[in-house]
C-alpha cells in the first residue's frame, strides 16, 4: 500500500482548513515557546544561583543556621545575629591548610545598597559562574582608606562613574539613620555585571568601615578628620563573616568541624555549594511550580488541536465517505486524523522551539550584560528534540479520540454521505 497518499491527503486537508490550522499551530508554538523559555530561564537561574559564589571553600560566621549565614554573608539578605571577633578570624586564617581569607564586614548602606567592608583579596578570590573572576568595567580595586568600588547595578541605577564622591550611611534603608557625610568616599572602580549580589553592593576597605564608626556605632566618629584617621590603627575588632580558601579542598570538612567546635566563640563554617543547594531547595518550589504551569500550558495547546479536529469532523464525514468509496480502509481514516493531529503538533513544536532559540539568541547578550545571567546552551539540543517528540506523540495519542469517532462514523455511514 505504498501508493496510499494518506500523509499527503492529511497535509492537503489541513491546508484546506488553513485558518484554523495556522491558529492551532500558533497556539502550540506559543505554548512550547513558553515551556522551553521557562525551562531555559529556570536552568539558567538555577545555575547562576548555585554559582553565585565559587572558589570559596568555606564561609565562616557567628553560629546560626547555614542558610542564614549564606543569606547575610553572600546574598546580603537579613543581618548577622552576632559578629565574630578579630582574634577568632586570625586563628582560622593562620590554621594549617588555609591559603587565603577574605574578611567581610556588613551593616552600612549607600542609598539602599549594601556596603561591604573587605580587603582587596575579595577581587582576587571571589569567583562566580563556575570559575569566572571579578572584572572591572572601569577603574581598579580600592587601595586608599576612602576608596570605594561599586557593582554594575549600583553604577547603572545611580549613574556613578569612577571619580565620583559618595557618602555612606550607617544602617540600612534608602536613607541611613546617620549619614557619615564628613568622610566622602571616592569611586575608584566599577565592576562588570556578574549576576551576583555584588552588582548591588558598594565595596570599601575594612578600615574604612572602622573609621566611619570611630567613637561609637552611631557614627559620631565621623567628626574625626580624615588625616587623623589615616594615622590611627584601624584594625577592626569585629567582623561579620569571612571567606576561606584552602590549599586543598579535601581539607574543607576537617576545618569545618574544627571551626564548628571552636571553644572560644560559637562559630559556624559552611561549604557554599552545600548551603546553596539547601537554599535552592527552598527557593526551588517556585521554580518547579512555574515549570508545572508551563507544562499545563502545553497541554492546553494540545487540547486546542483536539478541539479543532473534533469541530471539523462533521463537515468531513463526506470526505471520509469519498475516501472509503475510493478504496481507503477504515484504518486509513483513523491514520488520516491521527496524522493530522501529529502534523499540526509537530509544526507547532518545531516553530516554537526555533522561535525560542531565536529569541534567546537575541536576548542572551542583553541578559548577560545587564544581569550577568548566562543561559546554558543557545542551540537546540537533545532535550528540545525530546520535547518536540513528546508534544507530537502526545498529540497523536490525543488524536486517537477524534480518529476513533471518524472511524466509527465511516463504518456506520457506509455509502451515504451525511451532511
Amino acid at each position: 500500500m505504498a501508493r496510499l497518499p494518506i500523509l499527503n491527503l492529511a497535509l492537503r486537508s489541513i491546508g484546506n482548513r488553513r485558518a484554523t490550522a495556522i491558529l492551532t499551530v500558533l497556539t502550540v508554538a506559543i505554548s512550547v515557546m513558553l515551556f522551553l523559555g521557562v525551562e531555559k530561564v529556570r536552568h539558567g537561574a538555577r545555575e547562576s544561583f548555585e554559582n553565585t559564589i565559587s572558589g570559596v571553600d568555606l564561609i565562616v560566621g557567628a553560629r546560626s543556621s547555614p542558610v542564614n549565614l549564606l543569606l547575610y554573608s553572600v546574598f546580603h539578605i537579613g543581618n548577622a545575629t552576632n559578629n565574630i571577633t578579630w582574634e577568632s578570624y586570625e586563628t582560622v586564617a593562620s590554621a594549617p591548610g588555609v591559603a587565603w581569607t577574605v574578611p567581610i564586614s556588613l551593616g552600612d548602606s549607600h542609598r539602599g545598597h549594601r556596603v561591604i567592608g573587605s580587603t582587596p583579596g575579595l577581587f582576587e578570590h571571589y569567583e562566580y559562574g563556575g570559575g569566572r573572576t571579578l572584572e572591572f568595567a572601569s577603574g581598579e580595586p580600592f587601595d586608599d582608606l576612602f576608596d570605594a568600588v561599586i557593582g554594575a547595578t549600583v553604577a547603572r541605577e545611580l549613574g556613578y562613574q569612577t571619580g565620583d564622591s559618595i557618602v555612606v550611611a550607617h544602617g540600612m534603608g534608602e536613607v541611613g539613620f546617620v549619614e557619615h557625610d564628613n568622610n566622602p568616599f571616592t569611586v575608584v572602580g566599577v565592576l562588570a555585571p556578574t549576576g551576583t549580589p555584588l552588582d548591588q553592593s558598594v565595596m570599601v576597605t575594612l578600615e574604612a568601615i572602622e573609621a566611619i564608626h570611630m567613637g561609637g556605632a552611631t557614627g559620631s566618629g565621623a567628626t574625626v578628620p580624615a588625616e587623623q584617621l589615616r594615622e590611627m590603627d584601624l584594625t577592626p575588632d569585629q567582623l561579620t563573616a569571612f571567606y576561606v580558601g584552602l590549599n586543598s579542598p579535601v581539607a574543607a570538612l576537617r576545618l569545618q568541624r574544627a571551626i564548628n567546635t571552636y571553644p572560644d566563640e560559637p562559630l559556624q563554617a559552611v561549604i557554599p555549594g552545600v548551603a546553596l543547594s539547601q537554599l535552592w531547595s527552598i527557593v526551588g518550589v517556585a521554580e518547579r511550580t512555574l515549570a508545572a504551569v508551563a507544562a499545563f500550558v502545553v497541554l492546553t495547546g494540545l487540547v486546542s488541536i483536539l478541539t479543532a479536529i473534533l469541530t471539523s469532523l462533521n463537515e468531513r464525514r463526506r470526505e471520509m465517505a469519498i475516501l472509503r468509496a475510493l478504496g481507503a480502509r477504515p484504518h486509513h481514516v483513523f491514520v488520516l486524523l491521527v496524522a493530522e493531529a501529529a502534523l499540526v503538533a509537530l509544526a507547532g513544536a518545531v516553530i516554537g522551539t526555533l522561535a525560542t532559540y531565536g529569541a534567546l539568541n537575541m536576548l542572551a547578550p542583553l541578559l548577560e550584560a545587564r544581569f550577568g545571567l548566562v543561559l546554558p546552551g543557545l542551540a537546540p539540543g537533545l532535550y528540545d528534540l525530546a520535547i518536540v517528540g513528546a508534544v507530537t506523540g502526545a498529540a497523536a495519542v490525543l488524536g486517537f479520540f477524534p480518529a476513533w469517532r471518524a472511524y466509527r462514523n465511516s463504518l456506520a455511514d457506509g455509502m451515504t454521505i451525511r451532511l
Binding site: 468509496a325 478504496g327 481507503a328 480502509r329 451515504t416
Partner: protein, 240 residues
C-alpha cells in the same frame, strides 16, 4: 477477448441486511444479476434502500447473510482488507453530490483512484498515462480539461462536478460503475446529457453500469430497468 463468456458484472443471491441487529431487514433480495458491460437502471423511492444496496455491493457494508459476487469474485470470501482493495481496483462510484475532495484540484481528484489502486494506475498507464487519460476522460465528458485541470473542485458548478466524478469513476477501466442518483441535482437538459455521456464512456471502457434513482422517467435511456421494490422483499413489507 477470450472465447468463454465473461462473468457477470454483478450477481446477488439471498442477500439480507439490516443496520442493527434488532432492526428488521432493510434489504432482502433473492437474486439480481448484471451482465458484463450491461447498463441497468434501478428505480426506487426515497428510503427504499438504494444507497444501502450500493454500500453492500461495494463491500463497505457487510450483509447479514447471502452473497455478493462482482466480476466473478465472491466478496464474502475476502477479508475486509482484500474487499477494500478489490473495490479500489474494480469499482467506480458516483454519489448524488459532493463527490470531490474540496482540497484537491480537479486533475488530482480524477487521478485519485490510481493512488489507491495499483491496478487502476496500470490500466491508466496502458491507456497513455494517468494524466493523459484523466484529461481525455474530462474532455469526453464535455469539460475543457485545460481550463478545469488545476481548479479547486469546489469552484465548479454542480453539473461540472458530477462530470469530474464520472471521469474519476471511469479512470483505470473498472468493471462496474455504481451511480447513486448522480443526476438528482441537475436540470433536465444537463441530466440527459450527463447520462448519455456516462453511458457512452461505460461502453467505451467496457464497464457495466448500475444507475439508481427515484426518477422513473430516466428508465428508457438504459438497456434494462428494474424496480427495487419488486426485487427487495424487505422494503415491500415495510411500505405496505
Amino acid at each position: 477477448m477470450s472465447t468463454k463468456t465473461a462473468p457477470p458484472a454483478l450477481a446477488l443471491s439471498n442477500l439480507h441486511f439490516a443496520y442493527t441487529r434488532r432492526q428488521p431487514d432493510v434489504i432482502a433480495i433473492e437474486a439480481l444479476r448484471v451482465e458484463a458491460g450491461e447498463r441497468i437502471f434501478l428505480r426506487g423511492p426515497s428510503g427504499s434502500g438504494k444507497s444501502t444496496l450500493l454500500g453492500l455491493i461495494s463491500g463497505i457494508l457487510e450483509p447479514r447473510s447471502g452473497e455478493v459476487e462482482i466480476l466473478g469474485q465472491a466478496m464474502q470470501t475476502l477479508f475486509s482488507s482484500r474487499r477494500d482493495a478489490f473495490r479500489a481496483a474494480h469499482l467506480g462510484v458516483i454519489f448524488q453530490m459532493f463527490n470531490l475532495l474540496p482540497y484537491l484540484p480537479v486533475g488530482e481528484n480524477v487521478m485519485l483512484p490510481c493512488r489507491f489502486s495499483e491496478e487502476r494506475a496500470k490500466q491508466a498507464q496502458a491507456a497513455g498515462g494517468e494524466q493523459a487519460e484523466a484529461r481525455r476522460l474530462l474532455e469526453r465528458l464535455g469539460l475543457d480539461a485545460k481550463e478545469v485541470w488545476s481548479q479547486r473542485a469546489s469552484n465548479l458548478s454542480v453539473g461540472q462536478q458530477q462530470r469530474v466524478a464520472a471521469a474519476r469513476a471511469l479512470i483505470g477501466k473498472p468493471g462496474l460503475i455504481l451511480a447513486d442518483e448522480p443526476t438528482s441535482a441537475l436540470d433536465a437538459d444537463s441530466r440527459d446529457a450527463f447520462i448519455s455521456l456516462l453511458k457512452e464512456e461505460c461502453t467505451a471502457s467496457g464497464a457495466a453500469l448500475l444507475f439508481v434513482s427515484h426518477d422513473g422517467g430516466l428508465a428508457d435511456q438504459f438497456d434494462r430497468a428494474l424496480d427495487l421494490q419488486t426485487i427487495n422483499t424487505a422494503s415491500v413489507k415495510e411500505t405496505v
